[in-house]
């Protein structure tokens, strides 16, 4: 019997507020963390890091960010790619302007800068709602990308228009630049994912989270019970963009090393992260991880099946991928609007009562 508790045995409110109220879940959570921190870094190689783990971790942060805005606060954004670009370019400018400062601080500052930009683009959300807002966020997407391509200051006047990350060290170990080892990339991302995940979880279970959800569920009622809608929405935009900015900075500095704004952070990226959130589950931190994992692994898996196993040409497989992703989005919205996270919850609720469901 590995799943327990079928009654209410809690004796304090702190106990009742736990993230993982069931012991088995708690152990599993520590187990996952232990494996992630103590096992994977020693066995990871370049292929696994670049194909699966590093993108998974970075997209998880971006998905958490978008989930805060869309899943918790109900404001759909199609500007994620643009905000990731802000994080990336902010990080690049900071790295080159202040080479002596630790890169980790730069990454956090990039998040901060993105938060400010995000909040600025969030200002219209007070007056514009629903898909009007979604379309309005496209303005952020296209304008920001255009800005980074046109204003040479952002890419330090480099001839190619690209930005590339110089080599930076944390405690003597390279974490950016061409000589970075797979495990170092992985560890940097892992640390940020862990911190972001915890912060997001804490924010969403407290007052701030309740304000966001109140705005999402019924904004007029929320205002009448005392939520300042502008402040709540702007915090959501700022916090969300903070995470997205960190993801963008990591994506550029640690993962790719060199990017061209329009290519790496185009509208397709906005959709990709939105899809992660939908498939994983709107309004669930766990769902953000699940959705990111799913959409990072899916193309790799499809490629393995289509190209390596069946021998199809790569372009057909990539078209096929569009069809599969599109169909999955529709499937999830029809069958399970709360995504993978809800499937998981249903399984857990059944397990809680198992083996005596009545």
């Amino acid at each position: 019997m590995f799943y327990r508790e079928a009654g209410d045995f809690k004796t304090s409110y702190a106990e009742d507020n736990q993230t993982f109220p069931i012991k088995f879940d708690r152990y599993r959570y520590w187990f996952v963390l232990a494996v992630a921190f103590l096992v994977i870094p020693f066995i990871i190689n370049d292929y696994w890091a670049n194909a699966i783990f590093v993108p998974f971790l970075i997209y998880s942060i971006a998905a958490i960010g978008l989930n805060i805005l869309t899943g918790y606060c109900g404001q759909v954004s199609l500007g994620t790619g643009g905000f990731m670009a802000v994080g990336a370019y902010a990080c690049y400018k900071l790295m080159t302007a202040f080479p002596e400062v630790n890169i980790l601080i730069h990454i956090i500052l990039s998040g901060g800068i993105t938060a400010v930009v995000g909040a600025a683009f969030g200002l219209p959300s007070l007056r514009i709602k629903g898909f009007y807002l979604a379309v309005a966020t496209l303005a952020a997407q296209f304008f920001l990308i255009w800005l980074f391509n046109k204003v040479a200051w952002f890419y330090n006047y480099s001839a190619s228009g690209q930005i590339s990350a110089p080599e930076r060290f944390v405690g003597g170990i390279a974490v950016t630049g061409p000589n970075t080892e797979a495990w170092a990339k992985y560890m940097v991302c892992l640390v940020f994912v862990t911190l972001c995940g915890l912060a997001a979880r804490n924010l969403t279970r407290g007052t701030t989270g309740r304000k966001w959800m109140a705005i999402r569920d019924m904004d007029i009622a929320a205002e009448i019970i005392g939520v300042n809608p502008l402040k709540a929405k702007l915090t959501a935009f700022a916090v969300s963009s903070f995470f997205v900015g960190i993801a963008g900075a990591l994506f550029f500095a640690v993962y790719l090393g060199a990017v061209e704004g329009g290519e790496a952070f185009g509208i397709q990226k906005s959709f990709l992260v939105l899809f992660m959130v939908i498939i994983g589950g709107l309004g669930s931190i766990f769902g953000s991880f699940a959705g990111a994992a799913f959409l990072v692994v899916l193309p790799v898996a499809l490629k393995m099946i289509g190209v390596d196993l069946l021998g199809w040409p790569t372009d057909i497989v990539s078209h096929f991928q569009l069809v599969v992703v599109g169909a999955l989005i529709m499937f999830f919205l029809i069958k399970e609007p709360h995504g993978l996270a809800q499937l998981w919850r249903v399984i857990k609720e059944k397990l809680r009562l198992w083996p005596f469901p009545h």
């Binding site: 409110y13 507020n17 007052t207 959800m213 109140a214 007029i220 009622a221 205002e223 019970i225 005392g226």
Partner: protein, 272 residues
């Protein structure tokens, strides 16, 4: 001191104080339609004040004016002795005015407990960073407020549905959860918009008992809109009657039922 505002004690021993909220010459228009025409009335501390009238009389609009959702074109709102400047609804909430809605306005995606906890929003002060860290200030505050909410939950007897998502609750319970959310805010003035609409007799009795208990135990001032005349006569200390946006009666329940204009509005006038 005016005799109208002298404190007194009711027959059942509740203390009625001075004027808490005073609406003076309120007029509210939507485009060319006058929803409220030059209405004045007051609400005294500790009393249960009913607003009645036929459908479309402007009762809900009046409640919306009190809670700051509609801005009247003319008139003044006085709260606790001074004029209340034009305010956003969330600022009004911070003055200690809480309300329920005619068509339930709960947050459907959240659990009962979280819904009621939203009532404590204005009592929770920790900043964003403290909340992101959670351990320490944020957790302490959460637990203190949770304890308060639990008292409300006990009071309204909804312990069993604490963790249920609101969307799954039946209508009567939703009404009760909405009342719990308003109560959790520790309001000075509680506005109830048709708290008993659509309920059966037992549910109405329960709700009446809760309203009386809230008023009695916490001394909360209550203004309510209700259609059931029996309930209104039993519960309220004073009644305002509205018809087509005008005030046609104001007084104790016994004065109201003998007021000819009120009888005409409710029963219709014979034209001969």
């Amino acid at each position: 001191m005016n005799a109208m505002v002298d404190p007194y004690t009711t027959e059942d021993g509740r203390k009625i104080g001075g004027v808490l909220m005073d609406m003076r010459n309120i007029t509210l228009r939507f485009g060319g339609v006058e929803a409220i025409k030059d209405i004045s009335f007051n609400i005294r501390e500790g009393e249960i004040r009913a607003i009645i009238g036929p459908n479309g009389a402007g009762k809900s609009s009046m409640l919306n004016v009190i809670s700051g959702f509609y801005k009247p074109q003319e008139g003044e709102v006085h709260f606790r002795g001074s004029i209340r400047p034009p305010m956003k609804p969330y600022q009004v909430a911070r003055l200690g005015i809480a309300r329920t809605f005619q068509n339930i306005a709960l947050f459907e995606g959240m659990s009962v407990l979280d819904n009621i906890m939203t009532g404590r929003l204005n009592h929770m002060k920790t900043g964003l960073f403290a909340q992101a860290i959670w351990k320490g200030a944020a957790e302490k505050e959460e637990i203190e407020n949770r304890a308060h909410v639990e008292r409300v939950i006990d009071f309204l007897e909804i312990q069993a549905i604490r963790k249920t998502p609101v969307g799954r609750l039946p209508y009567g319970l939703k009404k009760r959860v909405e009342l719990a959310r308003a109560l959790a805010a520790d309001p000075k003035l509680l506005l109830l918009d048709e708290p008993m609409a659509g309920m059966n007799v037992e549910e109405k009795e329960d709700m009446s008992r809760f309203i009386l208990d809230v008023n009695d135990e916490f001394g909360t001032t209550i203004a309510l809109i209700e259609h059931d005349m029996g309930v209104v006569m039993d519960l309220s200390d004073r009644v305002v009657v509205m018809d087509y946006g005008r005030k046609i009666g104001d007084g104790t329940p016994s004065e109201i039922i003998s007021n000819q204009e009120v009888i005409d509005a409710y029963l219709g006038v014979a034209h001969d």
